[in-house]
Symmetry: C2
């Protein structure tokens, strides 16, 4: 079970970061905000994560009520993940995170990939 959300936070920022729940969950939410993704697609988008960790992070997001998991009709082995209405509330914030990273990488002397292109998203 994931760590339960505290009932009270001193700062709204602290609460927002707790909901996002760390780097990999935020990165996964960022892809899922574009469109529902199959497990296989997410697998290719986060090559540095092991299958075990990817599955765990997706389960945590599901248990937190941010993501839903659905088996495709007639293809029980094909699992698709998408944002729940609660997860959808994070869309603007997730876009802002991605956009900041894209815009400021060069100034920080950093190269960043363009994973959303793999999802067929034009920016």
């Amino acid at each position: 079970m994931p760590k339960k959300l505290a009932k009270r936070f001193n700062c709204p920022t602290e609460f927002a970061l707790d909901v996002l729940g760390g780097k990999w969950k935020t990165v996964l939410l960022c892809y899922l905000k574009e469109r529902p993704c199959r497990y296989r697609e997410l697998r290719l988008l986060v090559p540095r994560l092991s299958d075990k960790v990817l599955t765990e992070r997706l389960r945590e997001l599901t248990e937190k009520g941010l993501v839903m998991r659905r088996k495709e009709d007639g293809h029980a082995s094909v699992v698709t993940y998408s944002l729940t209405p609660k997860g959808q509330t994070l869309r603007k914030l997730l876009s802002e995170l991605y956009a900041w990273g894209e815009e400021h990488a060069t100034a920080f002397g950093v190269e960043v990939g363009e994973p959303l292109k793999r999802l067929g998203v034009r920016r």
Copy 2:
């Protein structure tokens, strides 16, 4: 020394989260985006942090080039922190984090404080 920033990230979101550098640093940046703050003010804004940890987080932010530290003229013991131009690039993203937290706390069954009011910031 803080962990050095990687040279390459698969995803811009991953890079953005690495720059923010975790919960407390993000929370501190969120206050400093409003106006320069004295150490004593920050101390009151994050009561759950020990002096040792607060000082460390501020030093890490300074070493990362996001925050600058200045002694007040004629008051060498009064230290003020403010965002550098690099830190200023995070303003919109930090506002979005705070605003999301403020707006969605109730729906998540969570209470959040209003620390920016202590800085005299109207919202």
